[in-house]
């Protein structure tokens, strides 16, 4: 009976530990995608600024409340704008940002092709 009780206690606590670990892992995943708005190109995961610390705490709290990553990022974008996302979304405001490298690469390929053809 005693052994059985100990086993139940171990299972109960290990479940909690795994749940905590998963939540921590998820929180860090989100933290890495969120820009520290008061730092120079750092995520809140890398930064030790007061705001980054508060945002990390808030993200963990929201995950504990059962909110999804999308809900949390939407909450932050509504307040800080898309600037807070380290990887901006693909939308009319960011078309130039995402498409310019492709256009430049294509232009380069055509240019090189042209040079070779001439030679």
């Amino acid at each position: 009976m005693k052994k059985f009780l100990i086993l139940i206690i171990i299972i109960f606590f290990s479940q909690n530990i795994f749940a905590d670990e998963n939540l921590e892992k998820k929180a860090r995943e989100i933290n890495k995608k969120i820009r520290c708005v008061v730092c120079q190109s750092q995520s809140i995961d890398d930064s030790d600024s007061i705001l980054a610390r508060d945002l990390r705490k808030l993200i963990k709290q929201k995950l504990e409340e059962g909110q999804s990553e999308k809900e949390i990022t939407n909450y932050l974008v509504e307040r800080y704008g898309e600037f807070i996302l380290l990887k901006p979304k693909f939308n009319p405001n960011t078309y130039i940002l995402w498409l310019t490298p492709i256009i430049i690469i294509l232009f380069g390929i055509f240019l090189i092709k042209g040079i070779f053809r001439k030679n």
């Binding site: 007061i50 705001l51 945002l55 509504e78 704008g81 600037f83 040079i115």
Partner: protein, 170 residues
Amino acid sequence: MKYITLIIVTAFIFICLFFGLNKKDKTLNSPLLNKPIPEINLVSLKNEKLNETDFKKEILLVNFFASWCVPCIVEHDFLFELKKQKPIKIYGINYKDDIENLEIWLEKLGNPYSKIGIDKTGITGINWGVNGIPESFLIDKNGIIKHKINGVINEKQIKILLTKIESLEK
């Protein structure tokens, strides 16, 4: 032909960089502009409540500040100046501060605020999209954010605020 295309593309990139880097207004517009005020539920310095109901009667200014914030000292005199030129209510949100230090600070510099909400955890700051204090928000009679000032309110900002307030009063 090859060189002409190359020159055109290089010129285009330089023109983009020239205008992009010379842009005077480098402040990011808050996505909260023209939207209702975010959630606020604070206890004030005098143990009263400061919540959404306080925001739907008149045009007012919300100022995030702290006693540890050096630029806030510079701004403080300008808040009095603004009130002198236009007697509007200013709600202060005391951001991550020590109450004792705040009380000493107010005693020394004076208190331009109608109410001071205590945001000990900084959650209200995040709710309002605050990057770094001081930051201020102009709210209209319907509780809509009409203007945001990132940084110190100075003479220039007072002029802008007065024009905005005037247009909101019409």
